[in-house]
Structure formats: C-alpha cells, structure tokens
C-alpha cells in the first residue's frame, strides 16, 4: 500500500492508497455528510450527498466511492456542493412522510439530522408520494417503505455481510423499493432475523418491533457489555431507559462482531426483566420451595456443607460452576470449593 498525500479543504493529509476520500476526510476530522455509506459494506455511491469537487476531475465525485490519489485536491463544501445537497434532501423529503413526531427513528435518523443541518424544508418540489402498506409480518422487524430513501443499505448488508440476500430492489425508477421475492412474508423468506438491516437503516423504514415506542436515542443510556449467549463474545450496547432494557445494538467495528449481531444478540434480551425471574431465596419446606430470607437460606447452605464436610469429608461436597457466569464468579466459586471446603470437586458443563 502506497502513502498518499492529498489536500482536503486546505488541510494537507497523509494517508494510504486504499482509502476513499470519505475515509481519509473522516480520519482527519473533516466531516463529509453521507446517507448510503456504512463502514460494514462496500461503497455504493447512490445518495449523492457525499459528492465532492476534485480539482481536475470531470464532474463531481462521490467521496465514499473514490479512492485517494497522490496530489489530489478536494473541496467538500463549495457553494455548488451545498446547493446540490440541499436539492437532494428536498427531493428525498418530497417523497417522505413528515411524521417525525411519532417516527421510531427520530433522534437517530440520518435524514432528519441532515435536513436539520442543511435547514431544508420540503417546499419547492412537491409531487407524487408513495404510500405503501406497513409490513409487520413477523415478531421482530417492521418495514415502512414510505420512509425508505433507497440507500440500499438493508439490501447490501443482507447480501454482502450476512450472505443471505433476503431483499433486493423491485420495480424501477421512482417506484423502486426494496422487496422480498414474490412479496413473501419475512417468516417464509430465508431471513435469519439478525436485524442487521434494522441496524443499518438510516431512517425509520426498518425498525425493531420489540423496541417500538420504548425510547428515543436521547432518552436511553447505552451500556457497553459482552453478549451472554455463545462464545463469539460480541460487544453489545444495552439501551436502558428508566431501568428497562429497551433495545440492543452493537458498536461498529468493535470486537469480534465488528458491529454485527445475530438474532439472539440483538433480540434475546428481554429475559433479563422477565416476570419469571427469581426475586427471593427459596427453601424447601414440607416438600415445597417457599420464599425465605437470605439469612435463613445462606445459613442452611453453610450448615449443610459444614455437616457434610465434618461427617463425610470435603469430597462429599461438589460444586458446578458455570460457563454462563463471569470469570470472577467462577474464580470465587472455585476458591470456595478448594480453599474453604477443601475439595477439587469443581467442574462445569464445558463438555456439554
């Protein structure tokens, strides 16, 4: 890979020849807006929001798609570029619902943010608007194509990253829209319900049903943690609103998953606050498990261990630690078995 010198908006930048203008700019603190670009996918060049002027080039170039070359001089915010971005945003808004009040994505909507930034109101180019049926044909993913801006991110993440290809565009031109072959419901498609399409949709066109109405991006606190399912160790952001987990996302380009999640990682969180959770110690009395105080339960446990140790020796006590628990918990239980009780009878279900 070669080193490349270029100049973006008057700033001299040193980068490598595999970088796009967009990447080189962002890595150097220059923000070029974009809608159809996302790090997990190949560049696409469709939204035209990231167009920049490259001196000597024929026409404007999409920053997301154009790789840097030595000596390149780039302008990202000329009067013409800003005018075109405004026109594009106006055009998108001319076929987009104005229901930001109730839209699930308000606050995390990339279109809304850009419209705000560029001060665009939908006024000049009114015309025909699409009115599609909202599709909620499965328990997890809702599709409202009125809000689709045809960035193709859902299609591309499903095909390029997930390797499944549930969606593609159907129809042409103004009537293009993502669809599932033969308009089948998602449950009958090869969909794996990973929600990757939800994670990348820049607007409210594809949203998670379980999170509906549960919190805006500014109302939630995100807590970074590690997924509790399989051994991949994907990094999660738990979105917490007033003590409730309302959604799960994964930070982009971080950890083993690089921002990708599976159906369990993304949607398998509600057990945490399920009504079946144990809320009090239980002890067996008269054949039944009945609620008890911690003091009583812990006392019983200690007494029975002590009794067995005294009567039959430490090896009459056995501990199963857990592949579900933390390192610290496993360590401590192991210590309890070995140091306190004095037995090596400690194992877990590694083999199962």
């Amino acid at each position: 890979m070669e080193q490349v010198h270029l100049n973006i908006d008057g700033k001299d930048i040193l980068t490598t020849s595999d970088r796009t203008i967009l990447e080189a700019a962002r890595e150097n603190g220059i923000r070029i807006p974009s809608l159809c670009n996302e790090q997990r996918m190949e560049p696409y060049g469709a939204c035209r929001i990231c167009l920049v002027e490259v001196e000597g080039a024929r026409g404007l170039l999409p920053a997301c798609y154009t790789t840097v070359t030595d000596g390149m001089v780039v302008h990202t915010a000329t009067e013409e570029l800003i005018r075109i971005r405004r026109t594009i945003l106006e055009l998108i808004l001319s076929d987009h619902p104005k229901d930001c009040m109730t839209c699930e994505s308000t606050g995390s909507c990339e279109l809304q943010d850009l419209a705000y930034e560029y001060g665009v109101k939908d006024a000049r180019f009114r015309g025909e608007e699409h009115h599609y049926e909202v599709l909620a044909d499965n328990p997890l993913i809702e599709r409202d194509y009125d809000k689709c801006i045809l960035c193709g991110r859902c299609i591309r993440i499903c095909r390029e990253v997930q390797g499944v290809g549930v969606y593609d565009f159907v129809n042409r031109g103004f009537d293009s829209v993502p669809g599932i072959p033969y308009d089948k419901p998602m449950m009958e498609s090869p969909c794996e319900f990973c929600g990757q399409c939800v994670s990348t949709c820049p607007t409210g066109a594809i949203t998670s049903i379980p999170s509906k109405g549960k919190g805006r991006s500014w109302q939630v606190e995100k807590v970074r943690t590690t997924c509790a399912y399989c051994g991949c160790g994907c990094q999660l952001d738990l979105h917490v609103r007033e003590g409730e987990i309302v959604e799960v996302s994964s930070p982009l380009m971080v950890g083993p998953g690089q921002g990708n999640l599976c159906v369990k990682g993304r949607y398998g969180y509600s057990f945490v606050q399920h009504e079946d959770r144990l809320t009090t110690p239980l002890v067996r009395k008269g054949g039944d498990l009945v609620p008890a105080a911690w003091e009583e339960a812990l006392g019983m446990v200690a007494n029975h261990i002590r009794e067995a140790m005294d009567d039959e020796g430490p090896d009459s006590v056995a501990f199963l630690s857990s592949a579900r628990c933390t390192n610290e918990e496993n360590y401590l239980l192991m210590k309890l078995a070995r140091a306190v009780v004095g037995t090596n009878n400690v194992d877990h279900c590694a083999r199962l």
Partner: protein, 594 residues
C-alpha cells in the same frame, strides 16, 4: 457485381422491411420464381437505408446495372418480374438506379459516405461467404498474423475514431487502458443495447452486416488481450440476435472464433447476452451488472471498467458502430479514416433520420457535414413541405436544436457546444406541428421511466421535472416553474450517478434555451401554439370551408359536433375532448386547433 448471368433480386429484409411487409413480398416473389417462368433468383440483404420506401427490392441485371424499387407489395410482384424479364424499368417505383444517379431518391445515397454501412443492404447477412467475398476477415487475419496488439492500438488511435455509442471517447485510448490494465483474464463487450427512441443504427448494422461487428471484436479482443467477449444485445432485437447466432456459428466453422483462430495460438470466443430492455443497461457499469446476473444498475466510475469491469476483471466495452468500423480501419489504415472529418471528429457517423423528415432511414455521413446537409441534402427536408422547426439530436440524452443552428457541424465538440450531444445518432426532425414543451415532456417521460432508481437526483428529480412539465402542458404551469426546472435540471446534471440522469435534463434545457417562448405561451397565455397540448387548445370549424358533409360529427366519440346537413357544423368546446379525430377526418381541412 456478378449475378451469374441471371437477374438478381435482393429483398431488403431487415426489421424495417419486415415491418413494412417484406415477408409477404418475399413469399410472393418466391412463389412466382418457383414457377420457373423468370430467369431470376432472389436473395436477401439487411436494411439498404431507404426505410421510407420499404419494402424494397434491388434488381441487378447480368451486366451489373442495378435498379432499386420501393413501396413493393405482393400485388406488384408479378408486374415487377415481368419488367425485369423484359429489361424494362418501372420509373414510378424507382428509388435509385445505378445508370442514372439523379433518378428517384438517388441523392440520398450519393450524399453519404459509407464505411460502417459498407455492406449493409449489399450482402446477405446470413452468409459468411458473401462477407468474405467483400474482403471480410482479411483485416482480422492481418491483425492477428502480422501486427502486435500495440501496433493495432496505434493504428486505431491514428484513425481518430471516437466511441460511437454517444460519449465519443477516443477508442484507441480506451483500448490502451484495457491493454495496460493488470490481470490475466480480460473481457471485451460489444454494447448492442441500443435504446434511444428513434435510433436503429446498431440494429441495422447487426441485421445487415453482423460479421463486420464480429471481425471488429476479434481485432479488439486481440488488441486488449481479451480471450472472451460478450455481445450485450436487447431481446427486442430478435432478428439481430438470430443473425448474430448464425454468424458466430459460421465463424466457429471457419476457424475465426474458438481456439487458435486464424491458425495462430490466439483463442477468442463470443457469447451473446440478451438484455431485458432496460435503457440504463446501455450504461457500461449497468451493462456489466446485467451480464453478471444482477439488477442492471450503474455504479460510480472510477474505477473504470478498463480496470475493474465484468466479474471484477479489466473489460473494454465498445459500441456496435465503433466495432463495425474497425475492420475497415485496419484494412485501409488509420490515416485514411482520419482523412475524413473535422479536426477532432474523424471518419463518418451513422444517423437515423426520423420524425417529420421526408426520407426517414439510415444514413452515414462524413463528420464535418452540417446538420442542414444531413437533414436536407440526405434527408430530403421536411415532409409535406412544412417548415423545419427543430431537430432532436442524441435521443433522450440529447437536445433540440432550432433552425438557426442548422449550420452546426457534425462534430462532437460543435454539437456539445449547442447543449445537445452527438449521441448514438438519433435525429428526430420536428416541424411546426410539434409542440416543443410536449416534445421535452415526452423525452423526459422516457428517461424518467427508464431511471433505475438508484440515485436520488435521477429517481426523484426527473420525476419532479416531469410533473412540472405535465403541469405546464395541462395549463396549470406557474411562472416559478421555469425557475424550478432550471434548478432541478442543473442539480440533476451535476449530481446524478450515471449519464442517464446526467443527460436526462438536456431536452428540457435545450428547449428552454431555444424555445422559451413556447413555455411562456403555455404558462402565461395558456396557449399551445403548435396545437398539441389538449388542455390548451380549442378546435374550430371554419364556416367558409365546411361543406356540412357530417364526417366529423360521425367520427366524434363524444358527440360534440353538430350541424344541419350541407350547412357548416360547429364544435361544442365544453363537450370536446380534443382528440382531434375530426381534424384528421375532415376532407376539406376545415377544422383547426388553436
């Protein structure tokens, strides 16, 4: 040309001829000839260019004199054969005669310079032997056996030929890019996805001289280092596809395609990929996606196909017309080709004359002709002696030029300077009965419908422009609409992903530039001066001319016309739906639109 001591009849059997009834004529001729009464035989050829006189038969006598007859029908076949047998010429039917260049439509051909169309209409396109008899495949043999790829690229560079698909990029330079691109596997693609309304150059070449294209591909493949080629041809061209199939099969038999062609160790083969008729698939990257089995949508360039094309490999894409010129250039030398044309536009260009021009058909003229020469000297001017109003150059991506620009040269840069483009060669002539707003609306509706939907400016922008035009045509235009059109057109041109969107506003921009008064008439005065836009016209019957025959009243679908027999009739404007049926029906031409 030797006819073997017999009269040779050649029937124009391209799609234009077939559409005009050539198959019935062919059947009739075959039946008559089967009787054995006539000392003549029948062959077929592709389009001879005289589409306006199809069905056409060229008669060549044993001495080599030829007469081309037009407007044939099965009924006229026996008369024709009798004349042929008697050595007689039927003057009324003559389109052209070799011994009298001024007769018929003789100047149509006389004013052309045929390189690409050198064989079209002259040979049987289904016979490789006929192609070879004209010197066919000698250029490919010469290229493969005595020239290096670099020499070939130089030769093509010297010719100055530029891509005839419309963009006009120098072909030699393009080949050089593909040659230099790193990669073991490279591809050549022939772009036969001709889609402009009113354009049929490529179809006519493929139907009339498929081997010229294949020979050009063999040379191109060798020059860039591609062993596999594709012809991307739309499925709506069944005859072209059939003749390509026949030609490719013949090439395999003759050792011109396949392994070790022309006795060298060079392998080269061609596959045909049928397109499903999406206009955007004429765009190189969309075409590649389509061949790969994906939805035909363009991607930004760079990277250019020369570096990352079909299946990610270096790929060179040339248009049919470009490739058909290549064998001539190799055979005759780049210098000779470059001796024709202007400083920056060399050689010839094939145009499809259509619309209100008198001779609609296929014409190849040297670069540097004026539009006036093409339309008037070759095309014979406007039909029915009406006044020339405009010519639409380059199809929906091009522009409308007014009479004041008729002396513009056929030259890439000169035409681009007017706001139109050379394009692939469509030339649609408009007269005073054409509404320029309606014409712009028509072309925009075409591109809007053909937009792939990928980028915002094209997908939504052209839609909004079209809505504005529709509004103007229906009399609901606002003065601000002209500004809106200007803004949208500019931003769509600058912001679109591919040339489809990038050129879609051209018809609107050029009509706004050259015919702004018509827009203003529609918007401010609510008038369509050409009498085209239904919402803006009223139909009237001139009392002094009307004879009261009642024909108009009979044909009116909404009973808007009334009047006593033999008395002048009148049209009720409130009931009238402005279908204009009456206008075309009136024997006295007493009805007019205003």
């Amino acid at each position: 040309m030797s006819t073997g001591g017999k009269n040779k009849l050649v029937l124009g059997y391209g799609t234009c001829g077939i559409a005009a009834g050539a198959t019935a004529v062919k059947d009739a001729l075959e039946n008559e000839l089967a009787t054995g009464k006539y000392d003549a035989y029948l062959d077929i050829a592709g389009c001879m260019g005289f589409c306006f006189r199809e069905p056409i038969v060229e008669v060549t006598d044993p001495d080599g004199r030829s007469v081309i007859y037009g407007d044939l029908s099965p009924k006229r076949v026996s008369r024709l054969l009798e004349a042929v047998a008697g050595g007689e010429v039927i003057e009324d039917w003559v389109v052209r005669r070799s011994d009298e260049p001024g007769a018929g439509e003789g100047d149509f051909l006389a004013n052309q310079h045929r390189i690409v169309l050198r064989n079209c209409g002259n040979i049987n396109p289904e016979s490789i032997e006929e192609y070879i008899s004209t010197g066919g495949y000698e250029a490919a043999r010469k290229a493969l056996t005595s020239m290096t790829p670099e020499e070939l690229i130089d030769e093509v560079g010297k010719s100055g030929i530029r891509g005839r698909g419309g963009a006009g990029f120098p072909t030699g330079t393009k080949w050089g890019f593909a040659r230099k691109a790193k990669g073991e596997q490279k591809y050549l693609v022939c772009n036969a996805d001709e889609g402009d309304p009113g354009a049929f150059m490529d179809r006519s070449v493929l139907e009339g001289d498929p081997h010229a294209v294949i020979e050009g591909m063999i040379v191109a493949g060798y020059a860039i280092g591609a062993t596999q080629a594709y012809i991307y041809c739309r499925a709506e061209y069944p005859l072209a596809l059939k003749r390509l199939d026949i030609a490719i099969a013949a090439c395999h038999e003759w050792g011109y395609l396949g392994q070790g062609i022309f006795g060298t160790d060079w392998d080269f083969d061609i596959k045909i990929k049928k397109g499903a008729g999406a206009f955007v698939c004429g765009e190189e990257t969309a075409l590649i996606a389509s061949i790969e089995g994906k939805r035909g949508m363009p991607r930004p360039r760079p990277p250019f196909p020369a570096n990352e094309g079909l299946w990610g490999k270096p790929t060179n894409i040339n248009n049919v017309e470009t490739l058909a010129a290549i064998p001539w250039i190799i055979a005759n030398g780049g210098d000779r080709y470059a001796s024709v044309g202007t400083e920056k536009s060399k050689g010839t260009k094939v145009f499809c004359l259509a619309g209100k021009v008198r001779r609609s058909g296929l014409a190849e003229v040297p670069m540097g002709y004026t539009l006036r020469q093409v339309i008037f000297d070759v095309g014979g001017g406007v039909r029915e002696g009406k006044e020339f109003k405009a010519v639409q150059m380059g199809g929906p991506s091009g522009g409308c030029l007014p009479a004041s620009l008729l002396d513009t040269l056929v030259d890439y840069d000169a035409i681009t300077a007017t706001g139109a483009i050379m394009g692939s060669g469509g030339m649609i002539v408009a007269d005073s009965s054409t509404c320029m707003v309606d014409l712009a609306r028509y072309f925009l509706s075409f591109t809007q419908e053909e937009s792939c939907g990928k980028c915002v400016p094209c997908r939504i922008g052209t839609k909004r422009m079209l809505e504005i035009l529709a509004r103007i045509c229906s009399g609901e235009g606002e003065p601000e609409d002209l500004e809106r059109l200007d803004i949208l057109a500019g931003d769509i041109k600058a912001g679109s992903l591919c040339a489809l969107g990038g050129t879609a506003p051209n018809p609107v921009l050029t009509t706004l530039k050259y015919f702004r008064n018509e827009y203003e008439d529609h918007i401010l005065r609510k008038k369509c001066t050409a009498g085209v836009c239904p919402a803006l016209i009223t139909l009237h019957i001139q009392e002094d001319i009307c004879t009261g025959c009642g024909a108009c009243a009979k044909i009116c679908p909404v009973e808007a016309i009334s009047g006593e027999k033999k008395e002048p009739h009148a049209i009720d404007a409130d009931t009238c739906i402005r279908c204009k049926l009456c206008l075309s029906r009136c024997p006295e031409e007493a009805i007019y639109a205003e």
